[in-house]
C-alpha cells in the first residue's frame, strides 16, 4: 500500500488518456469483469474521461450480486434456527432474499455475525461447542482458498459444529457465457487481477483464442484500469487477441499454486446458478465427498427452497453488460440502497450501487411518473 499514490497520479492519468486518444481510431466496447474494478471506474469517473467511442460495460464479477437467491433464502432459513450462529462477510448481510435480509433477521433475534475471515468462524465454533456455526461461503476464486483452508482446519480439529453453505463461482465460465450470448457486444475484457493472482491466466488463453478477444489481466487502481484499457485497445486496433498482464506486480502466469492445491483438496467443480443470469455449466465449486459432512445445506436440509426474483429487477441484463442501471425503471426510485430490489444495488461493488453512490441519476423517460 506504500506505493498506492503512484497508481492515482493525475499527471500519469492524463498521459495515459492522451495516449488512449492517440491510438483510438474506432469505437470499442470493453467489459471489466470484476465488481471492484467497476467500483473504481465509477467512483473515479474513469468511464467519463475515456475518449468518445470507448465504452466500458460492467461484468458479472460482484460475488454478492451473483449469489443465487435460493442460497440466500437457505442461509436465512438456517439463521433462524436457535442453535445456529450464522456468519459471513459484512456485505452479504444486506443482500435481499425473497422476503428479508440477514441484518433484519439479526434485529429480530437471529444470531448473525460479521466475520473478517472464515477462520474466525472456525474459532467461533471452537469457542461455542454448544452451538452450530455456519459460514456462508460465497465469492470467486479469490475467497475459495481461505474457505478451503477453514474447512480443512475444522476437519483437522474434528469439529462437528462447523459447516459451510457454499456458493462459490468461477470467472472463466462466466466470461464464456457472456461471449456466447446472442446480444454480446463485448470486444475485449479486463480480467480481474486478484482472481488471476490465485489462478494465473492460462484458463483465459483458450477463451481469447476461440472468441478472438483481447484479455488484459488488470489491477484495481485508477492507473491500473487506464493502462489495462489502453493495452486492450491497442490489441483491438492492431487486430490481436491474446492475454496480457497489466498487473505484473501481483500476478504470475501460473498463479498461486499452493492456493490452487488447497481449493482442489476441498472443492470440486459443479454446475452453478448465478443470480440474475441463470445456470452456467461447470461454473461453481462445491464440497467434495470427503468434506460433505461440512455442507450446511445437507446438515440443515434446506435444498427444497424455491424462489423467484422481483419482476422489475433487470439484474441479469446488468450483470451480463446488456443494460446499465440507468436503463432500469426502478433505479433510484423503487430500487435504492435503502430498498434494493436486486443484488446489484446492495453490495458496494454492485454496478447499481456504484452508480447510485456516485450520484448518477436516471434521465426521466417520456411517460415516467414524475
Amino acid at each position: 500500500m506504500k506505493y498506492l499514490d503512484e497508481y492515482r497520479d493525475p499527471d500519469l492519468a492524463r498521459a495515459l488518456l492522451a495516449e488512449l486518444r492517440r491510438v483510438t481510431t474506432r469505437p470499442w466496447t470493453l467489459m471489466e469483469v470484476c465488481g471492484g474494478q467497476t467500483h473504481t471506474i465509477v467512483r473515479q469517473g474513469i468511464d467519463e474521461l475515456l475518449p468518445g467511442g470507448i465504452r466500458m460495460i460492467h461484468g458479472p464479477g460482484c460475488p454478492v450480486c451473483v449469489t443465487p437467491l435460493e442460497v440466500l433464502d437457505q442461509a436465512m432459513t438456517i439463521a433462524q434456527r436457535p442453535e445456529v450462529i450464522l456468519t459471513s462477510f459484512g456485505d452479504m448481510l444486506r443482500v435481499p432474499g425473497s422476503h428479508t435480509d440477514l441484518l433484519a433477521l439479526r434485529a429480530r433475534g437471529a444470531d448473525v455475525r460479521v466475520v473478517y475471515s472464515p477462520m474466525d468462524a472456525v474459532a467461533l465454533a471452537r469457542s461455542h461447542p454448544d452451538r452450530q456455526v455456519v459460514f456462508l461461503a460465497v465469492g470467486f476464486e479469490t475467497t475459495a482458498p481461505a474457505n478451503a483452508m477453514a474447512v480443512r482446519h475444522a476437519a483437522t480439529l474434528g469439529l462437528t459444529n462447523f459447516s459451510v453453505l457454499v456458493s462459490h463461482v468461477l470467472v472463466p465460465p462466466a466470461m464464456t457465457a457472456v461471449l456466447r450470448a446472442p446480444t454480446c457486444r463485448v470486444q475485449g475484457f479486463l480480467a480481474a487481477g486478484h482472481v488471476c493472482a490465485v489462478m494465473g491466466w492460462t484458463e483465459y488463453e483458450p477463451i481469447a483464442a476461440e472468441h478472438r478477444v483481447p484479455i488484459v489481466v488488470t489491477g484495481f487502481e485508477p492507473l491500473d484500469l487506464l493502462e489495462g484499457i489502453l493495452m486492450a485497445v491497442r490489441q483491438l486496433e492492431t487486430g490481436s487477441y491474446r492475454v496480457e498482464n497489466q498487473y505484473a506486480r501481483a500476478v504470475r502466469r501460473e498463479g498461486n499454486t499452493a492456493a490452487q492445491d488447497a481449493v482442489r483438496s476441498v472443492f470440486r467443480i459443479t454446475d452453478r446458478s448465478w443470480r440474475g443470469i441463470g445456470a452456467i455449466p461447470a461454473s461453481g465449486l462445491t464440497l467434495t465427498d470427503a468434506y460433505a459432512a461440512f455442507d450446511a445445506g445437507r446438515r440443515f436440509d434446506v435444498g427444497s427452497i424455491v424462489v423467484r426474483e422481483h419482476p422489475d429487477c433487470i439484474a441479469g441484463g446488468i450483470l451480463t453488460g446488456d443494460r446499465v442501471p440507468t436503463d432500469c425503471h426502478a433505479y433510484g426510485t423503487a430500487c435504492t440502497p435503502r430498498t434494493p430490489l436486486g443484488a446489484p444495488m446492495v453490495s458496494a461493488e454492485g454496478t447499481c450501487a456504484a452508480y447510485y453512490s456516485a450520484g448518477r441519476r436516471r434521465a426521466p423517460a417520456p411517460g415516467d411518473p414524475s
Partner: protein, 351 residues
C-alpha cells in the same frame, strides 16, 4: 419465526424492514436522519429539533448564550489504542459544545453497567474520564449509575451532558455555510473508526493506528480568535465520517460543496485498512478532528491559527462551498463524483 416459506413456491418482492430498529439507524447516516425526522422530531416537537440538527443547542439565560449537549457512548471494545469509552465520552461532549463555539463549563456523567463487569474496568474507565475532564479543564459535577442484569446491556454504556458558555461574537451553526466559504479540515481522517474496527476484529492494524480522540475546544477558541463571525459552521465528523458532516452542513445551509480527494489527509495505515476492507475513509468515524466553513477572506488566518495548535497542526483546506447541488469530490484522476450521505453502517466487503 419462519420467514421463508418453501411451500409458497414463489416469493413476492423483498419487504424492507422498517418496523424494527436496525443497527444502521445509529450509524449517523441516512437511516439515522430518517429516524430523527420520522420518529423523534414529531414526538418531541419543533422546540427540540426545529431548525438544523446541531451538535449542541444554544439557549439564552440572563443575557448569556449557553450551549447544552447530551450524548450516549457505546463502543466495542471499551479500551482501544489511543483511548477508551471514558475519555471518549468526555471528549465527545466537549467537542459537541465546541462545535457551537462554546467552552465547557460543566459535565454530567451517567453509567449503565451490565452486571458482571470487572470492577477494575469500571475503575479504569472512570479514572480515564476524570483525567480527560481535568485535562479539558471542565469539572464533572454530577452523575448517575444504574446496574442492569447480565445480557441487558453490553458491559458499559456512558451517557453525558455538557453545559458550555458561548464565545462572544461567534455564531457557528450547521445552517451557516455560505457559497464561496473555504472548507477547512483540522487533521487526518479515519483513525478512530479504523482503530476500533481493527481492535474489535483483531485485524492487526492497531499496531499502526491509534484513535484520534481528543478535546477540540481550545482549537476552536484559537480559530474564533482569528476568524470570529467569519467561521460560519463547525462540525466534528464522528459517526458517518466526513461525508455525513459535509452533507449535513450542505443540506442545512441550502448549499453544495466540492472537495479535492487528493487534499484529504488519510494516514497510510488507515488507507491500507480501508483498501483491505472496502471502506471509504470519508465515511469512517473520527473523534478528534473538525471541519470548518469559513468566509474566504479569513480562511488563511483561521488555517494559520489551526496550524498553531497541536490539534490542528495538519490542518488543510479541502474544498469550497458551492451555491447549490450535492457534495462532490474532484477525484484523483480529475473527474467529479457525488459524495453521498452514507446509508447505514459500512460493511466490510468480501474481497
Amino acid at each position: 419465526m419462519t420467514i421463508v416459506d418453501p411451500a409458497a413456491g414463489t416469493c413476492p418482492a423483498p419487504v424492507p424492514e422498517t418496523e424494527r430498529v436496525l443497527l444502521g439507524h445509529g450509524s449517523g447516516g441516512r437511516l439515522s436522519a430518517e429516524l430523527i425526522a420520522d420518529v423523534l422530531v414529531p414526538a418531541l416537537g419543533a422546540a427540540a429539533c426545529g431548525g438544523p440538527l446541531e451538535d449542541a443547542a444554544v439557549v439564552r439565560a440572563d443575557g448569556t448564550e449557553l450551549a447544552l449537549s447530551t450524548d450516549a457512548y457505546v463502543v466495542d471494545p471499551l479500551f482501544f489504542p489511543g483511548g477508551d469509552i471514558g475519555a471518549l465520552a468526555v471528549h465527545g461532549t466537549v467537542n459537541d459544545l465546541a462545535m457551537r463555539a462554546a467552552m465547557p463549563v460543566a459535565l454530567t456523567l451517567a453509567y449503565v453497567v451490565e452486571e458482571g463487569l470487572p470492577m477494575a474496568d469500571l475503575r479504569r474507565v472512570t479514572a480515564s474520564a476524570g483525567a480527560a475532564a481535568v485535562a479539558a479543564g471542565v469539572p464533572v459535577v454530577t452523575g448517575d449509575t444504574k446496574v442492569v442484569g447480565r445480557g441487558a446491556a453490553d458491559r458499559l454504556f456512558v451517557i453525558t451532558a455538557g453545559l458550555g458558555r458561548r464565545l462572544p461574537g461567534t455564531a457557528p451553526s450547521a445552517a451557516g455555510a455560505r457559497p464561496g466559504d473555504a472548507i477547512l479540515l483540522s487533521g487526518p481522517i479515519g483513525c478512530h473508526g479504523v482503530t476500533v474496527l481493527s481492535t474489535r476484529a483483531g485485524l492487526g492494524f492497531e499496531a499502526d493506528i491509534t484513535s484520534d480522540t481528543r478535546p477540540l475546544h481550545r482549537l476552536v477558541a484559537a480559530m474564533m480568535a482569528a476568524g470570529g463571525d467569519a467561521v460560519h459552521a463547525l462540525r466534528d465528523p464522528t459517526r458517518g465520517g466526513l461525508a455525513a458532516s459535509l452533507n449535513e452542513i450542505a443540506v442545512a445551509s441550502g448549499a453544495g460543496a466540492e472537495i479535492e480527494e487528493r487534499a484529504l489527509p488519510v494516514p497510510e495505515p488507515v488507507r491500507a485498512a480501508c483498501e483491505m476492507l472496502g471502506l471509504d475513509p470519508a465515511y469512517v468515524a473520527n473523534e478528534g478532528c473538525l471541519v470548518a466553513f469559513v468566509a474566504p477572506g479569513r480562511a488563511d488566518a483561521v488555517l494559520a491559527a489551526m496550524r498553531g495548535r497541536a490539534e490542528g497542526r495538519d490542518a488543510v483546506r479541502i474544498g469550497t462551498v458551492l451555491p447549490e447541488g450535492p457534495v462532490v469530490v474532484r477525484t484523483a484522476v480529475g473527474s467529479r463524483r457525488v459524495l453521498d450521505m452514507p446509508l447505514g453502517e459500512q460493511l466490510p466487503r468480501i474481497c
